[in-house]
Structure formats: structure tokens, C-alpha cells
Amino acid sequence: MVKQYTKNPVGAHYGTRGFLIQRFTAVIMAVYTVVALVVVIGHRPAGYADYKALFAGGFGLFTLLFLAALLYHAWIGVRDVLMDYVKPLGVRIGLQAIVATLLVFYLIWAAALFWGRWA
């Protein structure tokens, strides 16, 4: 007897959007990583004023974009890990709720840090 398929996917392309967002955000972060290395090594900020000025222009905006991409990427990644290893539904949903809340909190934190810094 064949074991019943018990997963409950929603829609024909369940998961495709997450998969794609995972890749798009990865590309943003990979580009940012290279740019950040060039900027930091190129400028070698000597003191506080130098360091602060680093985030004043487009690099500050790019940093915020990087952090936003990182948070979305982390959501899909951690969600996938929880789906793989945490089987009891209540525990899994509880953990996912904690992770989602943390990530939204981090997004607000990142925005508070960098919003308007480029202006």
C-alpha cells in the first residue's frame, strides 16, 4: 500500500515565490558585500567623522536596502529550517511567529538607523 501524501500545498506554485525572493535578495546582498568591501577598504575611515560620512550618501541607502533584503532572506531561510525540523504544528507556528516578530522589529530598527541618513 502506498503511503498517503499528507503535505498540504496551497496552489500549483506553492513555494516558488519564496524560492525566487530568496535568490533576488541573495543577489542584492552579494553585490552589496562587494561594494561595501570596496568602499570600506577604499576609504579606510580614520575616525568617527569619517565613519559617519561613509553612510551619508548612496551607501547609506544601499545599506538599508541590504538590511531589508537580509531580513526577507532570513525569514524564508529560517522558515524553511523550521519546516524541516520542527514537526509539531503548534510549536512550529509559535517559533515562526517569534522569528517573524523579531524580523519586523529588526526592520524597524534598521529603518530608524538609516532612514534619511543619505539626504
Binding site: T33, G47, Y48, F55, G77, V78, V81, Y106, W109, L113
Partner: protein, 133 residues
Amino acid sequence: MSSTPASRAAVRRPKYYDLSLAHLPPPGLVSIFHRVSGLLLFFPVLPLLLWFLQSTLASEEGFHRFAGFYAHPIVKLVLLAFVWAYAHHFFAGIRYLFLDMHMGVAKQPARTSAVAVLVLGVLTTIAVGVCIW
């Protein structure tokens, strides 16, 4: 052999859990380290990064406090662990992007690229270690 699923389940089979990572081929190592490094980056690296940016950008005292904190060798060692997590996740992620485009999927290239990812992650960590020490 006409055993039903129920009677087959009743047979006690020996259990042998070999979780030793050394038995995984390089692509398997890259995969599990991608997962472990990803979780490390979510916690504790992400909140620490935000805390670091907040403290260093907020005031000059905060900036200098961090510079002093960073001088501790243990802080540098922990930082290097985070650098490895980031570097491995970065290189492994790029490898997965190529695999997604069906590039390097065959057994030998996949093995070669997996070894390259493992080596690059460690080399980056060593290079950063040499720079900050």
C-alpha cells in the same frame, strides 16, 4: 514475502545513526554548513550587527567604546567565527545560484565547486584574521 505493512513495522530492526559529517561528500558539507552558517547569521550575528551599527553611529563615545571592545583577542576570535559564517554562506550561495541555472550540476564539477567553496570560506577567514590581528 507477503508481509503487510503492519507486520513489517513490527519487526525490530537495528538502528544505526551515523551522523558523522566526515562521511558526507563535499557538496553535502557545503549544504549543511550553509544551513548552520545561515542560522548563525540570523542569530546572533544579525542583532549584533544592528547593535554595532546603532552604537557606533549614534555617538563618538559609542564609536570609541567599540574600538576598545574590539581590541580584545576573544572578541576578535568570535568575530572570525562570524566572518567564516558570512564567507561560507556567501560563496555557497553563489554556487547555488549557478546550480539553479543548471551550471556545474554534473557530479565532478559540483564536487570541485563544493571543495572550492569550503576552501574559500576558510581562506577568507584566515585572510581577515591576518588583517585584524
